[in-house]
Amino acid sequence: MNYKHYKIELLLSAALLFMVLSFGYKTLMHSSLKNSQEDLVSAKAQISEIIALQELWGDKKITKKVKALEKVLSPSKVASFSVKGKKLTALFKDMSIGELNRLTSKIVSLPLSLEKFNLKQEPNGYQLEVKCKW
């Protein structure tokens, strides 16, 4: 077969093929960009969320803030207060409702895992037993 006889058709076919391939490439790139954008948005949201969670629950200055809980009430109200490693065990007694509110607000504002939070109303006031870790 002599290709010169079909050079017009060949030329046209080559141009058509070029257009079709370019269109395919464009479509592929567009869809790839769209997928990548979706992945990126989700990855960005996930990373931001993890960073926020890490900053909240992985605060390295938390031990200092936990130790400060001992000073929230007068020493007579603190029956026991022990910080070992990343665990707090404390017993507060004879608290008025105001003192209880103050202490509870402080505890819940800290990023601590409350393992035990036992509050009882006693004749002399409220007694609170707290066990938490971070």
């Binding site: 790139m29 990855a43 990373i47 993890i50 890490q54 629950w57 939070f117 109303q121």
Partner: protein
């Protein structure tokens, strides 16, 4: 317009139906003998060839009959040479000598190589091509006496371009002109698509830069699996601790409406609270996830979990 140019095309001198034509290449170029075109030389003040081509019909008008002609023009030392030729006549002649018109790539005119015809070329047994007054002319061989005739070969190919016969191949389903227009459109669209595609590709590589920047400060989050593992760990803790704090918040809302806390017990994921309340209004706004147990008219027990 030649898209596939073949420098090995044979150059054939076409004179009349008796011309002996030997062709080895598939495509050929032909040089027309003066009997196949009408020529007039005019020293006109024309600068460009396209302008000369435009005026050619009027220059040659009085020399031509009613047949359909095409025109060509080129410049030589003495001015513009205007040429008229009949594609139909040439096509017919080509068929007579056994050449398909579609095989013809370029047509040249003997006048374009006038200098080469200073030595006469025999076109048949009685006639020869020679130059008279700088015009290539057909003359009887007898006029040259005993002079030796040269043979026509590749050296006669003019340096200036030829014209096209504008005959489509019988095998072509589409006209050359239409094919060129379509091919141009396809190529243009293809280029646009390609540029767009490259644009998308560049945009894709640029957009990942913002995440890379975020990950630079947190290299431990670079892997998707480690991200998922860390997220799972913190999300569980966050969810449980938020539930505990929400439970305490709900209790404080009851207290605001006059309730009194008797007992709160949060252990692990179970929460319980006993409260003394004045009326139902103080606790009917509690979150639906909290179970309310009425102990007596004044005391209630709340239960929740993480």
């Amino acid at each position: 317009m030649n898209f596939i140019r073949n420098s090995k095309r044979d150059l054939v001198l076409l004179h009349n139906a008796n011309s002996s034509v030997r062709v080895s290449s598939e495509s050929i170029d032909i040089m027309l003998s003066p009997v196949l075109y009408t020529l007039k030389r005019e020293p006109l003040e024309i600068k460009y060839q396209y302008q000369a081509k435009k005026v050619a019909p009027s220059v040659l008008d009085e020399l031509l009959d009613d047949e359909e002609y095409k025109y060509s023009a080129f410049k030589d030392d003495e001015g513009w040479v205007f040429i008229a030729y009949s594609p139909a006549h040439i096509t017919q002649l080509l068929e007579q000598v056994g050449i398909e018109a579609s095989r013809v790539e370029n047509i040249y005119f003997a006048q374009q190589s006038a200098a080469m015809f200073e030595n006469p070329i025999a076109v048949d047994s009685t006639m020869a091509l020679g130059v008279v007054n700088d015009i290539v002319t057909v003359m009887p061989k007898a006029l040259y006496g005993e002079r030796r005739f040269l043979s026509f070969d590749e050296s006669f190919r003019p340096s200036s371009g030829g014209v096209s016969l504008h005959v489509e191949s019988k095998r072509s389903a589409i006209a050359k002109k239409d094919a060129i227009i379509l091919a141009s459109i396809f190529t243009l669209l293809g280029t646009i698509f390609l540029v767009e595609g490259v644009g998308y590709s560049v945009a894709k590589s640029n957009q990942s830069a913002s995440v890379d920047l975020l990950l630079e400060d947190h290299p431990s989050l670079q892997s998707k699996y480690s991200r998922e593992s860390i997220a799972k760990k913190y999300q569980k803790r966050d969810k449980q601790e938020r539930k505990k704090r929400e439970f305490l918040k709900e209790i404080s809302s009851v207290v605001r409406y006059g309730g009194k806390v008797k007992e709160i017990a949060i252990e692990g994921t179970k929460f319980k609270a006993k409260l003394e309340v004045n009326n139902k209004n103080s606790y009917n706004m509690l979150d639906k996830s909290i179970k309310i147990k009425q102990i007596d008219s004044k005391n209630i027990e709340l239960e929740g979990g993480a």
